[in-house]
């Protein structure tokens, strides 16, 4: 337990001392919303209609941005090798990393989402449904992202290929995420989204650990 706590503490410190990485992600998220408005035009009816989809696209892209720092620094300075002789299993260390990745790259987006909701002319009820769907769905995005980052960690310049691998896997998250905001069966979609998140979060650390231990072999 102390080992897991140490891992969480270290990841959080590294992320928060990262010189404004969190702020960059939030800015990216907000700017994406503004770009949509510029591209579509200031038609608030149309904006409100596409808002749920745009929020999810912005969140998906913003979470991709932070992925490269998930494993690559630890791979490059040899820490991943050392973590394999630690008291806690590699999959637990990776689970801690995914948890912190969610805390520093998804939670700030959710906190900043009111700004995006304003930009995209979202009404109050839709806004709360969007917060719920982001809260439930972003853990799955973090988990799939971790798998993609783990698979590409030993490729030089692999940061480019990871999004290509992650995007198809994330399609169900986007579908159910947007569905749980707009669809007539939004509560069903939210349940599907929750099931997807639980499954992804419970399996991804093992898959990522397997990929990382194969990467050194």
């Amino acid at each position: 337990m102390t080992a897991l706590r140490a891992m969480l503490g270290r990841e959080l410190r590294l992320a928060l001392r990262g010189g404004g990485d969190v702020l960059t992600l939030v800015l990216f998220f907000i700017i994406t919303g503004a770009i949509v408005a510029f591209a579509v035009g200031p038609d608030s009816v149309l904006l409100a209609r596409i808002a749920p989809g745009m929020v999810w696209v912005a969140a998906f892209l913003a979470m991709l941005l932070g992925l490269d720092r998930l494993f690559r620094p630890d791979h490059e300075d040899g820490a991943l090798i050392l973590l394999r002789q630690a008291e806690l299993p590699l999959s637990a260390a990776i689970a801690a990393k995914v948890m912190v990745h969610w805390l520093v790259s998804a939670l700030p987006l959710i906190l900043a989402s009111p700004l995006l909701a304003l930009q995209l002319a979202m009404d109050g009820e839709t806004f709360w449904r969007m917060v719920a769907s982001l809260l439930v769905g972003t853990p799955a995005l973090a988990a799939f992202g971790a798998v993609g980052a783990a698979v590409t960690v030993s490729i030089r310049g692999g940061g480019l290929i990871a999004p290509i691998l992650i995007a198809p896997l994330s399609i169900p998250v986007l579908i159910f995420g947007v569905g749980s905001i707009t669809a007539s069966q939004s509560s069903a979609a939210l349940l599907f989204l929750a099931a997807l998140s639980l499954m992804a979060v419970s399996l991804a650390p093992f898959a990522a650990a397997l990929a990382i231990s194969s990467a050194e072999d």
């Binding site: 706590r5 891992m7 630890d74 300075d77 040899g78 090798i81 050392l82 002789q85 630690a86 072999d217």
Partner: protein
Amino acid sequence: MTDRQVFPPLTLRATGLSCGRGGMTLTADLSFAVAPGQCLLLRGPNGTGKTTLLLTLAGIVTPLAGTFELEGTDSEAGPQLHYCGHRNAVKPRLSVRENLDFWAQVNGPTGLDIQEALAEVGLGELGGLDAGYLSAGQSRRLALARLLVTHRPLWLLDEPTAALDAEGHELVTRLLDRHLDMGGLALAATHDPITLPDPGRMETLALGVRT
């Protein structure tokens, strides 16, 4: 340093071990045993598989053939070894003390106190400094301090003296000697000569001898 933990008598035994990476065999059919209190020096020119052998023994690279075993360990016990590679795994954004404290917590704080370990490797005054300001040699010392904060019987050292000054070489020798005193085992790949006070504790394995 009065209450020295003494390790249970362990022997590292490799039989017919072949290691390699990327489908290439680098070291073929090695057999050796390292007894408690013994240090095995790996020597050989570059590219003869010293690092690969150490990584194999650390369980990171799968051996191509043969087996190795740390005899005498309890199967319930956790990891028994420290690997110290080329890369120091020092995070520039954490302070020196935070870096060391992390590894102590993750590996189990069974060894020296953080401050004692830092003093031992000559970084006692720098605990609060961001590790990004350390020189290459100082980073190396920090990596060596990691071996002290957690007691593990087997040390696998890859170029432990890299980037270290003359005093650093003495430091490595001193740490190694004390580890062997406690009944520990060590394998070290090195180009620099390491001379322990008691030469009977050292054996040399030459790699890359073409037959």
